[in-house]
């Protein structure tokens, strides 16, 4: 845990010092806005990293859970006028129920089949967002979603929302790190390593696979709620299949072997998507594809594996 504490301290100081520094660096000038999005996506990818990197499963449909959280919050606050906190709770409840229903049969599948099943699931949810016009406003969506508030304090400025989002991310990160360094985390990694042996050592493998699937859906759902109350407008396009793949991509680019990889990958790719790629409008899909291909082929461990590779290169050349 000692080494994790150092990393957390580094992240926190980065989060505190950076808003001050960015004013002087044009390439990252939109810092707060981008970092709010990055934080929201980090929540999704922390959960996805647990699911993919630790438990060895795959989901190509996690944008659906982001969407379920987002629409639950949006509909409950804007249409029923209830408290946003109820919206968040409802999102969590609905997401986890759907994750259980979809997860039980899906997680019996392996590899390609699981990938296709989750992809199909994500697409179905996307279609529902488009078709249930009465509830979701269909393809054009709906607006007038209120800001989050505690009592009379409203999280309407970028700085307050930045602090809120990253506070939630840090809590999510703590929770994830604690899990990783526990019997639960070891059980997941054992399933990843050898499912049959894990089962024979007393790990109820199907229950643990379901648990991480549901947990990761909850992370995504909370992220969706935060997303909704930040942009205060919803339409289905943020929850399509390409977003599911982008989340997987963030995890892979950063490196699946650790949640820190997910955080690094997510911050980088969010900057790429929101800032740097806007220069070439029609290229962005292509650039994403090329990055994903190159990383998978030439740096399969992702960015977090770079130090180890460099170190072993150095020792080899000696």
């Amino acid at each position: 845990m000692g080494c994790e504490k150092k990393k957390i301290l580094t992240l926190v100081s980065f989060l505190v010092i950076f808003p001050v520094l960015v004013n002087y660096i044009p390439a990252i000038s939109n810092y707060l806005e981008v970092m709010i999005f990055a934080g929201i996506f980090c929540l999704v990818t922390i959960g996805l990293s647990l699911l993919m990197g630790y438990a060895g499963q795959i989901s190509l449909g996690h944008a659906a859970f982001l969407g379920i959280g987002a629409y639950s919050s949006g509909i409950i606050t804007a249409k029923f006028g209830l408290s946003p906190w109820i919206g968040i709770a409802a999102g969590i409840a609905i997401s986890s129920c759907i994750a259980v229903v979809v997860g039980i049969p899906s997680l019996k599948l392996k590899g390609h089949y699981l990938a296709m099943a989750t992809l199909g699931f994500g697409e179905i949810v996307f279609i529902v967002f488009n078709e249930e016009v009465n509830l979701t406003g269909g393809p054009s969506g709906f607006a007038d979603i209120p800001y989050l508030h505690v009592g009379s304090f409203e999280f309407s400025s970028e700085l307050t929302y930045y602090i809120l989002v990253w506070a939630v991310v840090l809590m999510g990160l703590f929770f994830a790190l604690n899990l990783i360094h526990s019997r639960v985390g070891r059980a997941w990694r054992a399933i990843h390593g050898n499912e049959m042996a894990a089962e024979a050592m007393g790990v109820p493998t199907s229950r643990y696979k379901l648990k991480i699937f549901v947990l990761s859906s909850i992370y995504a759902s909370v992220a969706g709620s935060l997303y909704t109350h930040y942009i205060c407008f919803l339409n289905p396009s943020s929850f399509d299949l390409f977003w599911s793949i982008k989340f997987v991509m963030m995890v892979i680019v950063g490196g699946m072997s650790s949640v820190w990889g997910a955080i690094i990958g997510t911050i980088l790719l969010t900057y790429l998507g929101n800032e740097w790629l806007s220069a070439f409008k029609h290229f962005d899909v292509l650039v994403y594809g090329i990055i994903l291909l190159l990383i998978t082929m030439f740096l399969p461990g992702g960015i977090v594996s770079l130090p180890r590779i460099l170190r072993s290169k150095r020792t080899n050349s000696r």
Binding site: A117, L119, E123, H282, V285
Partner: protein, 296 residues
């Protein structure tokens, strides 16, 4: 239009799109049989087929046969490049890596299509100038007959290829046992390349024949791919005839549900069928006993 006419109309539409799903499903099966890889870029071959044909016909004003031939060649080359540049160099490929790589390639194809053709849908003229005719009071586009005819030809050619040519038989041997095939001197690498070439060609043909009916745009690939995968799963992954029957059934279900239940959920229906099959009987329904996995 009366009720029967409507039913006939739905059935015909269903069979037409079903033929396309069948072709996409066949594409999955050919690659799966040789490599045990599910090529997530399969749907993109269809899109590229349609859009390249648009370029050949609308931009270069080539005649139908020349355009057809050139389009299939271009997409086939892309399929070969995909294998040579991304699949072949991968050593120690675990399933996750292969999934991600084919997804990356599919995104690259999509990105290229968007870069070249933009986000608009494109139309193609029908293959023949003949006017629509009626059957049981239903209006039938001649292009639908082209789709069915060409699909039939592709299926026949494929079965002949696998049954009677050395190369086809060698590919089947690879499917049965890659190790043994290598020992027997079958060049497995070449077989993998051919499997990509074949599926790309079949995808391209599907794209070319369907575009005059349903238009084509850069981001159709994912959904086409999913539905085609539905066909190959429902038919039993790897089963040749299974994919054809299942593709037609899937198209029919989709068209009938769109007609009688809800047109908005048309795309969801095929996906729900896909999930149900995966959950209930992932080995498929139409593969027969022997032909469970990895068999034509």
């Amino acid at each position: 239009m009366n009720d029967t006419a409507q039913l006939v109309q739905y059935i015909l539409t269903g069979i037409t799109v079903g033929a396309i799903y069948a072709l996409v499903g066949l594409g999955y099966n050919i690659i799966y049989n040789v490599t045990e890889v599910i090529n997530f870029a399969q749907g993109e071959f269809v899109v590229l087929g349609g859009l390249v044909m648009v370029f050949m016909t609308n931009t270069l004003h080539l005649s139908l046969p020349v355009g057809f031939f050139l389009t299939v060649s271009v997409v086939t080359i892309l399929g070969a490049l995909m294998d040579k540049l991304t699949i072949e160099p991968i050593k120690d490929a675990n399933v996750l890596t292969l999934i991600i790589i084919t997804i990356a390639v599919s995104i690259i194809f999509r990105g290229l299509a968007m870069l070249i053709w933009g986000r608009d849908p494109y139309a193609l003229p029908a293959f023949s100038k003949a006017p629509p005719f009626t059957l049981f009071h239903a209006i039938i586009q001649p292009q639908a007959l082209w789709v069915l005819g060409i699909t039939t030809i592709v299926v026949i050619l494929l079965s002949l290829f696998f049954r009677f040519t050395m190369m086809g038989k060698a590919m089947l041997a690879c499917a049965d046992s890659p190790e043994a095939s290598r020992l027997m001197g079958i060049p497995v690498k070449k077989m993998v390349l051919i499997s990509f070439v074949l599926s790309a060609a079949i995808g391209a043909v599907a794209g070319i024949v369907i575009t005059p009916i349903s238009l084509m745009e850069y981001d159709r690939g994912a959904l086409l791919g999913l539905k085609g995968f539905g066909a190959s799963i429902l038919g039993g992954l790897g089963s040749f005839s299974g994919a054809v029957i299942a593709g037609l059934i899937l198209g029919l279900i989709e068209s009938l549900c769109a007609g009688y239940v809800s047109s908005g959920y048309k795309d969801a229906i095929a996906l729900i069928v896909l999930l149900l099959v995966l959950f209930v009987k992932p080995s498929g329904f139409f593969a027969g006993k022997r032909a469970s996995l990895k068999k034509f």
